[in-house]
């Protein structure tokens, strides 16, 4: 059964802390892994990863994919209250299908 599992489901940290969000997957014919940030209605795109071991960075956010171990991590350094959101991981696989994890709810305390 194809699946995407995110952990933890919920995380509360203080401003300035560094957090690591996890996403593991089992799919047939993997094509890409995507990270989204959801604050309101529509998740906003963060990263798309297709190759193992190549870190993608955007400001304080970074992500890396391990296609051998079938997982990805999303790191956020020096967290700010504006980082509070649900972070979604999704995997694109065979025939352009896409499957989402349940998300990690991140809450940053001031």
């Amino acid at each position: 059964e194809d699946k995407v599992v995110q952990s933890p489901l919920s995380l509360v940290v203080h401003e300035g802390d560094t957090v690591t969000l996890n996403c593991s997957y089992e799919v047939t014919n993997f094509r890409s892994l995507l990270w989204y940030k959801q604050e309101k209605k529509a998740p906003t795109f963060l990263f798309m990863l297709t190759s193992s071991g190549i870190e993608k960075k955007s400001g304080r956010l970074s992500s890396i994919l391990d296609k051998k171990e079938l997982f990805s991590i999303l790191n956020i350094t020096a967290t700010q209250t504006g980082d509070s959101a649900i972070y979604l991981c999704a995997v694109g696989y065979r025939d352009d299908k896409i499957i989402f994890g349940k998300g990690t709810r991140l809450h940053i305390l001031p």
Binding site: S10, A42, I86, L88, I98, F100
Partner: protein, 113 residues
Amino acid sequence: GAGVSQSPSNKVTEKGKDVELRCDPISGHTALYWYRQSLGQGLEFLIYFQGNSAPDKSGLPSDRFSAERTGGSVSTLTIQRTQQEDSAVYLCASSLTGEFGYTFGSGTRLTVV
């Protein structure tokens, strides 16, 4: 059911025809979202249902798009007079409260030829 079910999984239609896409959310989930994902794009919000409240339709791209949710459960997204730019994967998600624990369906791939 155990998950969010969408049907059909694939739909090919001729330009100008109407289509209906169905979403069966998880039983008991009061919140239901419709999104679409075009090739190479992120998720685009379409419409949001929460319990008995009036739906948030602010994401519907044109008046050719409409959605309803009968009995607080099954939802149908209707696209009238389909255009080629409507081709996308249409995703449905539900959650218990609308704040957390989204479960996405596997989507309907719509191709307008």
